[in-house]
Symmetry: C2
Subunit: 224 residues, 2 copies
């Protein structure tokens, strides 16, 4: 399979390389900016203008997009709606993805109630917790199930995407159950690196680590 021309875009050109993961990580940011532009009624944008909105150079944007075909015309810029549609298609967002959410504490509840997922192609479709007081309760119209049922329910519902919002010491066990159930992509808020098979993608969100990468600079300022 050709790694870059699989989406049937009309303008798709041949590339030798598959896009690196760092490019894939930037595509959602392009899509996000294009959504704002569309809301603002902007119909055309240059790579320069788009770049300024996301702190990426125009050259980087053009290079990133070139992995997927030819977008925009020299000197005219991109058609905002069309480019957004194309990027969403590349990201698989022309369909809705059901997702499992494991861990219904404060963070899990915030995730369940967050509109950003629902309005952008990610539907939390199954919820799990280990707390006997929460199991059987409803939230956002869904019954909270026991973590013991993760693999069965995830498999039954053909869910391949999951969000882990449990403490670090439970996260590996939860990940194992998700993988057994057929999950192939995990967003984990637990501050540990998960061991998963090669075919499973994991991304992490660790706000403490992010903040600690800034206290470095604050501490330097104080010393100077």
């Amino acid at each position: 399979m050709n790694g870059s021309c699989i989406f049937g875009l009309e303008e798709c050109v041949e590339h030798l390389e598959s896009p690196p993961d760092v490019v894939i990580k930037r595509l959602p940011l392009y899509a996000r900016s294009l959504r704002y532009l569309l809301q603002e009624g902007v119909s055309s944008v240059s790579s320069q203008e788009l770049g300024e909105r996301i702190n990426v150079t125009a050259a980087q944007i053009r290079k990133d997009l070139s992995y997927f075909g030819e977008f925009g015309k020299q000197g005219i810029g991109y058609d905002v709606e069309k480019l957004l549609h194309q990027i969403e298609r590349i990201l698989g967002l022309n369909q809705e993805w059901p997702a499992a959410l494991v861990g219904i504490g404060h963070l899990g509840e915030a995730i369940a109630r967050y509109e950003g997922f629902r309005t952008q192609g990610i539907r939390i479709s199954a919820m799990f917790d280990s707390d006997q007081h929460k199991i059987g309760q409803e939230m956002t119209g869904l019954v909270i199930h026991s973590v013991d049922q993760i693999d069965t329910i995830v498999r039954e519902m053909a869910i391949r995407l999951a969000i882990i919002a449990v403490p670090g010491n439970f996260a590996q066990d939860v990940a194992d159950r998700l993988v057994v159930g057929g999950v192939r992509a995990i967003l984990s808020y637990a501050p540990i690196v998960l061991q998963v098979p090669d075919h499973v993608w994991v991304r992490y969100i660790d706000p403490v680590a992010v903040v600690h990468s800034m206290t470095y600079y604050l501490a330097r300022e104080e010393e100077s």
Copy 2:
């Protein structure tokens, strides 16, 4: 000021370059792993073993640490407690950082109640919201103030770190107020790129963008 030898580490050697930001972002992950090792009672670790825990090569770890001096001994590995202590010092975690939290919705509440910040050097010390029903209420022992008071209170308390958990359309205004109050580092959960002066650091957490960078791979699997 020499960018790499400012921490007075005993083994500090001279370097020509300042560490790039990508290195600074990895340091908290090293510290996190070392904390786990310490909890597990491990006293010594090789760069190989440490790397396996965080999906980083041993060579990368050695190179990253070399910006800050000489750590560990050839063939013996790192003293876990000592290396952790040194990295925490580099990251400015030998002191506690007061932080402002703006936006006390579900996400803000989850952040306020999250133990991870409190136990790792980040103390939420002031809270703000724009909702008249929330202003004046208490949470985790703190009174929620009006966003109108951000700059005054932040300045009074000498807070230089802030977490933004408001919707995208309010985030820029909040960031402006924080900067006026003297904040120099912002963690933003709002899905927009903030415009801030050069001397202010901003990091973003956008879970939707992160998930979208994985649906790309899920969509490819379905096509194959």
